[in-house]
Symmetry: C2
Subunit: 110 residues, 2 copies
DNA sequence: CCGATTTGTTCTATAATGTAGAGTAAATCC
DNA sequence: GGATTTACTCTACATTATAGAACAAATCGG
C-alpha cells in the first residue's frame, strides 16, 4: 500500500455493500446489491478477488455459514465490516468530499 | 477499460483538482490542491502519469502556457475538464452516493 | 554569458487493483 | 446417482498507482 489507505472505486463499493448487508451478506447477494444500486455489472471474479484483498487487509471479516436447505444451498461465506474497514471508508469519503466541496464540475470553456 | 467508465480514487481526486483550478491549474498547483484539501501526499510521478491517462481518455484537455517571468518560471501545461470528464465524475459520484445512502458504516458485531 | 538555483515535466521500474470467464465444489431434486 | 442449481476458486492479463531519479527551461548573480 501507499503511505495512506486509499480505496479504489470498486473496493469502495464492495466495502459499502458489505456494510449494507452485514452480517448476512455473501458473494451473490453482495454482487446483486452493487448491480441493483449502481447499475454497473459486477463479474464474479472481480468481486471475490476484491473480497479476499479486503479481508487480507483486515477491512472485512468473513465467517463460514451453514448450508441452507434448498437446491444448490451450499455453505456461504458471510462478510462483516471490520473496525479498520469502517475507518478507511470514512477517510476515503472525507477525502472525496473535501475535493467536491464547492465544485461545479462543468467542463471548462477555452 | 471495463464495460463502464469507472474511476480510481486517485483519478477522481485529480479530475476534481482540475475542475477546481481550471483553466489555470497545472502540475504543481494541482498537486498542492490535493495535498492541502485531503491531507494525503501526492508524488509527482503519480500525478503526471494520471494526468496523461485522463488526457488520453479525453476526460481533461491540456494546453501549453507561456513561460512566466520569474525564477524557474518555465512553461506550464494547463488543464481543463472536458465534457466527458465532467460526465464521468458525475457518474462515479452517483454510484458512490447510491451505495452510501442510508448506510451506517459501523463495524458489525459478531 | 555562464554556472547555480528554481520550477516544472518526463521517464523508468514496480506494486497494487480491476476484470473476465472457466473451473471446481457442495447442496437438492428426481 | 446424474442433472441441476448455487456458490466460490483459480488463472491470466490489463489498467491504475506509486516513488523518485532524470531531464528541461527559466532567472539570478557575478
Amino acid at each position: 500500500m501507499s503511505e495512506r489507505d486509499s480505496l479504489g472505486e470498486f473496493e469502495h463499493l464492495v466495502l459499502l455493500a458489505v456494510a449494507r448487508l452485514q452480517p448476512e451478506g455473501y458473494g451473490t447477494t453482495l454482487r446483486r446489491e452493487i448491480e441493483a444500486r449502481t447499475g454497473r455489472s459486477v463479474s464474479v471474479g472481480a468481486l471475490y478477488a476484491t473480497l479476499d484483498r479486503l479481508e487480507r487487509k483486515g477491512w472485512v471479516s468473513a465467517e463460514a455459514g451453514e448450508p441452507t436447505p434448498e437446491r444448490g444451498g451450499r455453505a456461504k461465506r458471510h462478510y462483516q465490516l471490520a473496525a479498520a474497514g469502517s475507518r478507511v471508508l470514512a477517510e476515503s469519503r472525507a477525502r472525496l468530499e473535501a475535493m467536491w466541496e464547492g465544485v461545479d464540475a462543468r467542463p471548462g470553456r477555452a
